[in-house]
Symmetry: C2
Subunit: 441 residues, 2 copies
């Protein structure tokens, strides 16, 4: 036990252990897993533009694209150039920036859109068409034969221009499985770089995703990658992305803070939190994690939202520990109650000691921070005072500090001893001087 324990400690839970010896890493039985070899298609400038509050000026789009490129995303996906005149101009402008990330645009599976898209200067085109019965009836009204035919035409056209091409179904988890496999097999034969599956309404669950990805892998050629797009309506987007990678998908669509239609898709930051636990070396070597907070702030300001209080990594309390037993253990070894290391993201840990759930270990740590000197027994005693006040009202750090300092003055003022010349027992003394007569050690 203690041997294996030491190993894990060394890696700090998210440390330098190789992917396959990491207990939270890829499952060795998932032989197609891309957990340690995934790529990001960052869609803040496409899906994110469909967020209710989003209106990005050209300048803001460029700023976001550069920030994403600095972060190290593999692809940046842009709104269709046929959405509006400015959308086309912005797409062209971003293509000219010469970023390291490949630039994609996202279009309907239609030659009218494809002809415009290939002229913008993008590296690749993401094509999507609704294959669910819902979308076929209420959106475009086309049958599967028509969809196949149109897909083939668009794919061959985009390929003829030397661009990367992805073909995705829309609402894949409410599409007929046989229809889906048929069309993916068809487009795979023509040759596409990626096929996409999309949980457009956010209904999918993790094991279902794993099964679909595994099934798809058995139908398409091994050189074709699978890209996944998960909406978060039922809170499973990040987990679905993870099981998709376990099943052999390679690329995950993300948006900064997850912004998108309705409550959005896989958030870039939350995916980083998930993946750094599972593939620490890969994630830390590939992505500039310390830029995460700045990118989130940039996008949050652009779309006028607050970063959610409970946002993974950057939420204000993501690394705050409060309960006494948590604080005690964290002070001894942060890995006890942290799977993420805040320093990997340029963040810091915070022990919340100013409350009634606090414990004496947290208070002792604060005493040390204040460069005061109290024995363990004295720390326990001052902790009891703090908890008592914490029962009455919400405390802040100043409250706690002044209780500690007052107490410190009391126990370190020899004059008090002289005053008590009648040798009264400590319990009989004024409550404001309880430790005055105690033996220091």
């Amino acid at each position: 036990m203690s041997d294996s324990f030491q190993k894990v400690t060394e890696a700090s839970g998210t440390g330098s252990a190789s992917v396959f010896s990491n207990p939270y890493g890829p499952n060795p039985s998932d032989f197609l897993s891309n957990v340690g070899n995934f790529q990001i298609i960052e869609s803040t400038l496409r899906e994110g533009e469909q967020f209710a509050n989003a209106f990005f000026t050209t300048e803001k789009k460029i700023e976001i694209a550069k920030a994403l490129d600095d972060f190290g995303v593999d692809y940046i996906e842009l709104t269709s150039p046929v959405a509006s005149e400015q959308s086309r101009a912005d797409c062209e402008a971003i293509c000219k920036l010469g970023l390291k990330a490949k630039i994609l645009t996202h279009i309907r599976c239609h030659m009218d859109d494809a002809r415009v898209a290939v002229e913008t200067g993008v590296d690749g085109v993401d094509v999507v068409i609704g294959t669910s019965s819902f979308l076929r009836q209420y959106s475009h009204g086309k049958d599967m034969n028509y969809i196949s035919k149109q897909a083939v035409e668009v794919i061959e056209f985009v390929k003829s221009k030397g661009l990367e091409i992805r073909f995705s179904s829309e609402d894949s988890f409410r599409s007929d499985l046989v229809d889906l496999l048929n069309i993916y097999k068809t487009v795979d034969k023509i040759g596409v770089n990626r096929i996409g599956i999309a949980d457009t309404v956010g209904c999918a669950n993790p094991r279902q995703v794993y099964e679909l990805v595994r099934t798809l892998k058995s139908v398409i050629s091994s050189s074709t990658d699978i890209e996944c797009h998960f909406h978060d309506d039922t809170g499973c987007a990040v987990a679905n992305a993870y099981t998709a990678l376990e099943g052999g998908a390679r690329l995950i669509d993300t948006c900064v803070l997850g912004i998108g239609e309705r409550n959005g898709i896989v958030p870039l930051g939350a995916l980083m939190a998930r993946m750094i636990v599972s593939a620490p070396d890969y994630v830390k070597s590939k992505y500039n994690l310390k830029k995460l907070r700045d990118i989130e702030t940039l996008v949050a300001e652009a779309v006028q939202v607050n970063i959610p209080f409970n946002n993974p990594i950057t939420g204000f309390c993501a690394f705050t520990h409060k309960a006494g037993i948590h604080a005690k253990a964290i002070l001894a070894n942060p890995s006890t109650y942290e799977i993420l290391n805040p320093h990997d993201f340029g963040m810091t840990r915070y022990i919340h000691f100013a409350n009634r759930l606090t414990g004496w270990n947290a208070i002792k740590s604060r005493v040390d921070q204040l460069d005061l000197h109290l024995t363990d027994d004295e720390c326990k005693e001052v902790t009891a005072k703090i908890k008592k006040l914490g029962d009455i009202r919400q405390l802040n750090i100043d409250d706690v500090d002044s209780i500690i300092k007052d107490y410190h003055v009391e126990v370190n003022t020899p004059a008090v001893k002289v005053v008590n010349k009648d040798n009264k027992d400590i319990d009989e003394l004024d409550i404001n001087e309880p430790a005055a007569k105690k033996q220091r050690n």
Copy 2:
């Protein structure tokens, strides 16, 4: 195809289909699944009190407990009565309210705590002890034999008082599996109502959770329920809860808005979103979903946070549709881009039409709302005007409405025709009067 499609439409994706015919429901191969038979242990007043910002007065605790009871949660878990004097008094006060929900308190696996807990009037006691190597070294420093012995003593004591008892390990996913199974088998033999597994650091992933639950089910007796506690550090808490239920767990710990240590645990609302898709009849008959927003507002105000913009169900944009193709399909049938029905939660749907991604179907719908009359061609024309302005700046509804109204006046003012007596072609006219000469139909 069209037959099965009609069936799904009838159920509106989340409607009245029985659990086992619901394609997003329990997987029939999960024969131990409790997806359609789960219970909630609501821990806002325990785990939630460990949230950085939480300071609940007695009155606020009672208000929250009553609201949770109205919502229909099965259990309400309270902070340990040994945390502070007021914690004990509050626990006693809530036990006296006579709520329908059973009241639990959550204590360390220690007789000192147990003796206090059983005197508070609770219906049951949740006992927890750290079993991971991390916690055993850095938190309590005890070995597995000691843990077993202590567990047996505490469990027998609580049972002797006629109360429900749960025994949970802490940090279960970083505990040695053999140790875990040993201790669960031991406590199961003594007889506990529930055993608990806890992802204390938020490192677990969905398939790993499923496997652990399945393994546990094979070790414990069939009358013992499994309760799960998932932290959300890596964004998988809701999904982990779901796969746990698939594997045969019965009870999920939640907090309102997910508040708790660090970025918290499974949010009550997000779990409802997940479960209503999978077990609509069960969820709608059991929980008072229309109260969700009020409870979230109550707790958000108490701990001084904003409801996250992307919160499932109640986030401001959870039911907002923006892109043209989305809006078009939603107008034809909401199930095309919604797996959740906003009305189930007392919420409403919103089509965001004031932006450059808008489509003419959304604008036509707005024209109808305004009780104006434009042909499809006219709607397309006015949509082009709106998109043009939307390229220049962020639009609001008033902008769109005034463009529509101006346009409507133009096309419905016969006087304009008289002015154009020189029979100029429409394209040569001032851009402000483009449709004036068009044929109405």
